[in-house]
């Protein structure tokens, strides 16, 4: 049986989205990732749901505070390696309009998804958008990365995000597989609200453990009895092997588990994992234990879809970081590595990874306070910058809140460069001129600062801008 012709309205909406995307790029307004979706929804409400219904293999959603872009991108690579045709909101626009735009982009002018029978939706979803996305898109799998405080002025408290997720999970059809981080008690606890199959992932290699809970730890207390959790190992933030000494609630056993993690200072992360499909060795070209969690989440999602081990290995190994997440450029004879950090838990992980590498680091922190960064910059006081002592060469602060950033570094007992340059371009130029030739400059921006850095580097002739990436 042939499918019914898509509605005229759907086709019109898809054309509108494509036109808006083309115009937006042409006019240099940006990647054309949000506006087209907004316009298409205006022409045909419910467009995302209709187009998602055309995806031959359905779709999956990835959400959480940190790691959702990297995890979704890993899943996309794995899906490709497994022979699917992924439809993916790769530019980081993770609200409904971004998903609508990605679906419109994948559709032909008749409003039909091209090569629909091979297509699989791989969508990164904003924490607060999850209920709406789950309802509209009817996913097969939903994966949760972690839950930390993030932009309290925008999302509200961690508890309200968890409550929102629980409500969305309780309303899902029982066929949906939910992928949960066993090591994050705030995420593992979502299991209570799930109706269908659950796949837990986690780390078993306690050689990766750190000394104790960081200041950025959020889920410290058992929601059932109120007692403080005890940890036999902390991997980062409040993520680790947790247990409630009072009521016995504890980290569930993980079906997808990293039994050995290798983090060589140069070269890819090595992960050996056990899983329902057997033992698997992964090689991931990224730094930081938090990326091991992203790889585990992606592998678990792939397993829930029935992807075989070899495709998971190929997909993970072929990874290149999403724009601004972890990129390396060669600029004016210096290496520039950008690492996005937008909340305390994420920035702690970045610092930990930097400290683990040998030698003094040249660092440029860019702190902005736009809505997408969070207007409230007080979160930097929960970051353990103190661990940088003895590991810094150049130490510069920039962005709209450059002075706040420099002050935080000063109170961490560090000695930031006294020249504060709010302009990202001037700061970047200055930092490069102070970085020794053949040396590496680490640029650690918040979200909107990362977009600025991208644009500046592109203008200087490095790498295509993000919407041209595939």
């Amino acid at each position: 049986m042939t499918k019914p012709v898509a509605g005229v309205r759907t086709a019109a909406a898809v054309s509108t989205a494509k036109l808006a995307a083309a115009l937006s790029r042409r006019l240099g307004l940006g990647g054309g990732t949000a506006l087209p979706g907004l316009m298409a929804e205006a022409v045909a409400p419910g467009l995302a749901a209709r187009l998602a219904g055309e995806l031959g293999h359905g779709c999956l959603l990835v959400t959480g505070t940190n790691g959702k872009t990297t995890t979704a991108r890993l899943v996309r690579n794995i899906a490709r390696a497994a022979g699917y045709r992924p439809v993916h909101n790769g530019a980081g626009s993770n609200m409904m309009r971004g998903i609508t735009a990605a679906l419109s982009e994948a559709a032909d002018s008749q409003g039909r998804i091209r090569q629909g029978e091979r297509s699989l939706g791989v969508f990164e979803v904003d924490e607060a958008t999850l209920p709406e996305a789950a309802d509209a898109l009817g996913p097969r799998v939903i994966a949760f990365t972690n839950l930390f405080r993030d932009q309290l002025d925008r999302y509200g408290e961690v508890d309200s995000v968890a409550a929102l997720w629980r409500e969305a999970l309780a309303g899902l059809p029982p066929a949906v597989t939910v992928v949960l981080n066993a090591d994050d008690p705030g995420v593992a606890g979502l299991a209570d609200a799930c109706q269908g199959p659950i796949l837990f992932y986690g780390v078993a290699d306690t050689a990766c453990a750190v000394g104790g809970l960081e200041h950025a730890a959020d889920a410290r207390w058992c929601p059932v009895c109120g007692h403080e959790y005890a940890y036999s190992a902390v991997f980062y933030g409040h993520v680790g092997r947790w247990q409630c000494p009072a009521c016995g609630r504890s980290r569930p056993s993980a079906q997808v588990e990293a039994v050995r993690v290798e983090q060589p200072s140069a070269g890819p992360l090595g992960v050996e994992l056990t899983s329902p499909v057997g033992r698997l060795e992964l090689s991931l070209p990224l730094i930081g234990l938090y990326n091991v969690y992203n790889a585990l989440a992606a592998a678990a999602v792939a397993m829930a879809l029935g992807v075989e081990g070899a495709a998971i290995q190929r997909g993970v190994a072929s990874f290149t970081a999403a724009f601004g997440r972890q990129e390396r450029f060669d600029v004016r004879g210096r290496g520039v590595q950008t690492i996005l950090a937008k909340n305390p838990a994420g920035l702690n992980q970045v610092l930990r990874a930097l400290v683990a590498e040998s030698g003094p680091k040249n660092l440029l922190f860019l702190l902005n306070d736009d809505i997408a960064d969070g207007r409230d910059v007080s979160w930097i006081w929960d970051v353990d910058f103190e661990m940088l002592a003895g590991h810094t060469g150049l130490l510069l602060a920039s962005g709209r809140r450059a002075a706040d950033m420099a002050l935080r570094l000063k109170y961490a007992g560090l000695d930031p460069d006294p020249t504060l340059e709010c302009s990202a371009e001037r700061a970047l130029a200055r930092a490069l001129s102070l970085t020794p030739e053949l040396g590496t400059l680490y640029v650690v921006p918040t979200y909107t600062a990362m977009l600025q850095v991208r644009r500046i580097l592109a203008r200087w002739g490095h790498r295509p801008q993000f919407w041209e990436e595939t």
Partner: protein
């Protein structure tokens, strides 16, 4: 003479939502720069407060869930000692949720009033889930100068006759968005909605607290000036950002 101060940090694990830790880092550093030894006792739920042992007390803000847990402990285990400390002139700084808990009561949008310690002659009313939350940069006038910070609160706080406002709002909402007041002062106890963290960007206020504590213990609280160029720059930048933005009410 060797100078030393003792600070009780109440509930550092549960009441640390908006970088409240920065306030402690700031006090530590500013004391150390003057060769004042600052000992910090971290007191969690169940641990008693010794009113006679401390010169400074700090309590920060928290999520609702943690705040409820702390409220019970504050009333049962620490309230009486805290009241005696305030009466004896101990310097107290209570930020956001901590400020609310030290008032007479908190009236949630629905349900019964939650009793507070009544140390401040102040009470807080949450006008309901549809009411606007007060979120944004804030600048207030304090002792002829300014204080800067970020506020994020749903509750509206009102002051009774025994309380004085800490400051007057220049930009932002303050206690209740209506009467132009921000925070509270009673004896040497200060309550405020300003975080950001508050003290690092407001070095004069940080020194004011240290000086009060020294004066109470040693009879004089003069402090050697520090190089606060960076602090003042961050302060001025925050003033500029807050005042430039139009305030939407």
């Amino acid at each position: 003479m060797e100078l030393s101060l003792r600070l009780a940090h109440l509930y550092p694990k549960q009441m640390n939502l908006y970088g409240d830790r920065g306030n402690i880092l700031c006090l530590r550093r500013r004391c150390a720069a003057r060769d004042i030894e600052l000992a910090v006792d971290e007191l969690e739920v169940g641990e008693p407060l010794d009113a006679t042992a401390c010169d400074l007390i700090f309590i920060g803000g928290a999520q609702d869930r943690e705040q409820r847990r702390v409220a019970a402990d504050l009333l049962e285990a620490k309230g009486e000692a805290l009241g005696r400390a305030v009466a004896a002139g101990v310097v107290v700084l209570a930020v956001c949720g901590g400020y609310q808990l030290l008032g007479r009561y908190y009236r949630p949008a629905a349900g019964e009033d939650l009793p507070g310690l009544g140390i401040f002659d102040a009470w807080t009313v949450h006008p309901g889930p549809t009411a606007k939350r007060f979120i944004g940069n804030v600048v207030v006038r304090w002792q002829g100068a300014t204080l800067v910070g970020f506020e994020n609160h749903g509750g509206r706080t009102f002051l009774g006759p025994a309380a004085r406002p800490l400051a007057r709002v220049i930009a932002g909402y303050g206690n209740n968005g209506r009467d132009g007041t921000e925070g509270v002062v009673q004896a040497n106890a200060f309550g405020t909605y300003l975080h950001g963290s508050l003290l690092p960007k407001n070095p004069r206020f940080a020194d004011h607290l240290i000086a009060l504590a020294l004066a109470r213990k040693y009879g004089q609280g003069e402090l050697a000036p520090l190089d606060d160029a960076l602090e003042e720059q961050a302060h001025a930048e925050a003033v500029r950002l807050a005042v430039r933005k139009p305030i939407f009410v």
